[in-house]
Symmetry: D2
Subunit: 357 residues, 4 copies
Amino acid sequence: MADRAPSASGIGRVDVDDEVRVCVVGAGRAGMVHAENFRWRVPYARLEAVVEVEAERGARAAEELGLKKAYSALEEALASVPIDGVVITTPTFTHAELAVAAARAGKHILCEKPMALTLEECDLMIQAAKDAAVILQIAFMRRFDPAFVAAKRQIDDGLIGRPQIVRSLTRGPTLPPPWACDVRTGNGMLAEVNSHDFDTIRWLGGGSYTSVFSQASTLKAPELKEEYPGFYDTAVAVLRLDNDALGMLDGICPVDYGYDARAEVVGSEGVLLIGELRETATTRVTRQDGMVERHYGSWRDRFRKAYVEEATHFVACIRGNQEPAVTGWDGRHALEAVLAANQSIRTGQPVALPLTG
Amino acid sequence: MADRAPSASGIGRVDVDDEVRVCVVGAGRAGMVHAENFRWRVPYARLEAVVEVEAERGARAAEELGLKKAYSALEEALASVPIDGVVITTPTFTHAELAVAAARAGKHILCEKPMALTLEECDLMIQAAKDAAVILQIAFMRRFDPAFVAAKRQIDDGLIGRPQIVRSLTRGPTLPPPWACDVRTGNGMLAEVNSHDFDTIRWLGGGSYTSVFSQASTLKAPELKEEYPGFYDTAVAVLRLDNDALGMLDGICPVDYGYDARAEVVGSEGVLLIGELRETATTRVTRQDGMVERHYGSWRDRFRKAYVEEATHFVACIRGNQEPAVTGWDGRHALEAVLAANQSIRTGQPVALPLTG
Amino acid sequence: MADRAPSASGIGRVDVDDEVRVCVVGAGRAGMVHAENFRWRVPYARLEAVVEVEAERGARAAEELGLKKAYSALEEALASVPIDGVVITTPTFTHAELAVAAARAGKHILCEKPMALTLEECDLMIQAAKDAAVILQIAFMRRFDPAFVAAKRQIDDGLIGRPQIVRSLTRGPTLPPPWACDVRTGNGMLAEVNSHDFDTIRWLGGGSYTSVFSQASTLKAPELKEEYPGFYDTAVAVLRLDNDALGMLDGICPVDYGYDARAEVVGSEGVLLIGELRETATTRVTRQDGMVERHYGSWRDRFRKAYVEEATHFVACIRGNQEPAVTGWDGRHALEAVLAANQSIRTGQPVALPLTG
Amino acid sequence: MADRAPSASGIGRVDVDDEVRVCVVGAGRAGMVHAENFRWRVPYARLEAVVEVEAERGARAAEELGLKKAYSALEEALASVPIDGVVITTPTFTHAELAVAAARAGKHILCEKPMALTLEECDLMIQAAKDAAVILQIAFMRRFDPAFVAAKRQIDDGLIGRPQIVRSLTRGPTLPPPWACDVRTGNGMLAEVNSHDFDTIRWLGGGSYTSVFSQASTLKAPELKEEYPGFYDTAVAVLRLDNDALGMLDGICPVDYGYDARAEVVGSEGVLLIGELRETATTRVTRQDGMVERHYGSWRDRFRKAYVEEATHFVACIRGNQEPAVTGWDGRHALEAVLAANQSIRTGQPVALPLTG
């Protein structure tokens, strides 16, 4: 099987009979989730390469994945093995450069959220993918989670009428990495953790953002505030969409109790409650402990299936069987709202969207 | 207001405008539940008297209920204050005598389960009530619980088709009293605790029992087996109805974890799950304890509303506004199945129903 | 039993052995809930009078409650029968005048929410109650709901650590009355419906409001916008407390699907989910309909027990057995936040709290 | 990679670094579940062959699985490609012959339930596997379901004390195939559907069966009773274990509402509720439909993860990383109880276990 160039017409795609060859960039937690999925659980995919700048971590990843070695740079991998799709899971500030490089090499791209640090980076990524006629999918995996998918379908079927309010939340057990906690080098928790909620509100609310107001506090890790100016660990936001639907989100990181991602859509004819904290359908009842169930401790467990479905969708798009469902524009819209929310936190004022240059 | 004799035609009833005057016999746990309800929570009812043989307990009850005194015998109460209805909550072996006395005095009767110790006693009670044209209601309060009522209505509306299997269970935190644990003087846990399940299976299953098979073990309080021959604390039973529906029940007393009463009806077009262990719609989630909810610890809490509704129904029947929903025949049928189940436990064989003299 | 004046020292109270005599003002929906509770379900209470300006409705209420007649004015009732406590359930704009009159007559007061239309009215009511040494309880009945009570106790016990975010919502099937929809004569849905949420956030969040930001839309009944300037049927708000906890609430009225009141408190060591939509623990599963449960259609059903507990608390306070748990100050704080939220909706800006004269 | 013979010592196993090569026999519904799992979702497994006697179905299966062809007989497949493990999913009456053939060829065996038609067949299979030192795993996949696994672990950890009652149920939407409905050629629903429940009771109850009593009815498909003597579609059974724990199970096939598999274990210190009907954590609430959730319609969906875990376990055992968790003896015990239950249905009497030749 020789490497395949994108077709002249539109998005270049591999033959349906062939397996899609994937390179995962980054062997951190998210990277390993993707790598293991492409290795073992995604039909018609073949994990060909893993790229990791940290040598020891790369070697360990290669061993776990049954690969001969890990590459230290994307270019090295692309030069060594035939690749159809690149999965970018490295820190946010590296996304744009990697995505543009992948696009220029004619590779399809699945990029972790948040898409990038700035709207300018987003624009570069979108343009590069367009120029190369490759897929640029942003990893909002909730769009592939069974609970969210069922909700979206019911909204589209009109079962709850017109959306009036969308609530979405994400609370997780681990702090974003230091560079993300520092608002001089990252966009904070709202970007690293709540990107999903911004996307969910727009996706399920069915409109475009027209304004955001956000408030934040530092209650769980106040000691970090000295180190990282602008650091916050608790935030809420209110969004308005151009169809007059209202959005609400909240985020806390780190939260002590586990991993929590739920949403709710109130429509003119009904309401949808999406997701839950409970992990396993086993209930123990004892006098001493009460009625006890196990809850999610990690996004890896909560969205295990969603990650596989997301990867499967990426492969199906590359093979030409599906149309990309989450594009660079979705990533850019979410980032724009995050940037505006951070501005609102700083100024104490609501911020109109879209942001004006 | 003078005492009112039953009317000549059928069941004697008090005028709709009047309050129904109630005497509760027995100031134990069940007695106090009834007494408090008739005192505070049942419209058009007035608690006039409490009867309790144990003087100190009677005095305490009277005080709690805001009554001047407690009577030591039913006849004393009936001779002292005008009464329309008598509520019998004393040990099972006293039911028949008290009920017959109340009936002969022209008083309507609400009798706790199990109805009596023997079928002969049941027959005496039914005949006495019939002769006096008074109501004889057996306290199967589950028939008034919102969850069970909703299920019954859905079955009657045909929403799950024809019942094929009815499962019912009762597990409680406290042993029946010693006389009931001793099968020489009582009918054991199946009578004192699982009477409700026998009634539920017949009520929701929509047929008459044709056979029962039961198995028992003594796993929780084996030390009682020496004291009480035939004692068991764990039992299951399988029933067949004449419409070929099958019934299953189980009981454990004492059970360590709380109070548990649930049922399930599988029909040809659907299933009904009835009741739950959870008491309060408050969920706490912490890393250490997991996802925790409060569950029922007592039948008083689980069936709080059912007891009020049951009492309200009794009053409504006396006032002529409703037809009695749970009669002496229902009590007799349940007892017959209990006796047969105990026989099955002893012999290891299924027992046909109805029992033949 | 003669009428009893308040004692010289502090709050005047009736003797513990006596029943508390209650007058309910207003025989609308909320008024009848209170009247029926004081008539049938509140120990040591006696419903003595109902006041209703609309003659026909008053007569109907009296009949349903087994009273001889209804009074057309509070003064008439107070002049006719001995009364210990007055329950005010009339439209908001009448609260202050009635409460002041009741206080001046030495009667304890249970006043429906919202407490009044303006902060000046609140101040008059608080002062009048203080001067007369009578109880002024505001009817935030959620504080007596088992789910909310359990949550509050767990927060106080430190089980979820320090509150970081409190979310609360109320959505109901019926529009507020016309005078309330018109922001020239009322304070809109946020006052009539979401007062509870403002109170919940302060109560469970454990701090005082420092700011509020609110957004509203008119999506369900846009035709009313012409009639009532400023009308909205959909609103969200973000609050900040002085302990840096953040609050979020939403409201929709009318909402098509039923009655919905839930809350959530995220603390530094855990989360509490409070309340649910499900009404009855009966689940039907059929191929065609799926897994179906009954949900709350009305606040009367959702908070049935809370209303009884609230009234029982009022009686217990009058009898000197409990300290008032929800005071005029609680009502005033909630109203202040409502007024600020309405101002935020009008201006598009956050509003600082407390409001400055 | 050459074919590998079992090692001389004990169970023969493949090298850890190698992939396990699998042949699935039978391309019916269960066969395709296994084949797809080994093809796409089981790490270190490689689906090498599918065997299907029906040519057209075999061709379709091969295409779906990306295999060049399907084989028409196990011997043909074994002669053509190197195979380490054989998965038997054909009708029950073929299990013994296929398993013995596979064992004699030195292949490890994963055999669908029920294990076989007779205890003699079970014995042959167990002996053949023992002689060949190959794994004989019976496909009681519930032992790998997260809810059942969590329950088992909690029992083993002593969290609910000593098991007193185990309840288990299976109800499914589709009739067993004709040969299984006919008790002259099969063992009916209790074998084909409720084998799992018999196994669950023994596994979670922690003892050996000492007796069974069963009752059956024909309520859903009575027309089949003429065609198939002894046919029943509704059954319940009571089991006793040698530790005096009691077991209860029920089964209905076809059941109209979906697929249902739940269990419950009551212990001396608590209770475990295992499994649920709800499939997706999305709740829709509308006035008209109530509170609606999606439930399981098929065992494929309910036990999707369990099938993958079961297959993964099979591969891990072959690779020497795990000890076989469900053996031929487990299959034989379940069959023995099924045979005794069918005898009980015929005779109306309880049947002692183990069965005596």
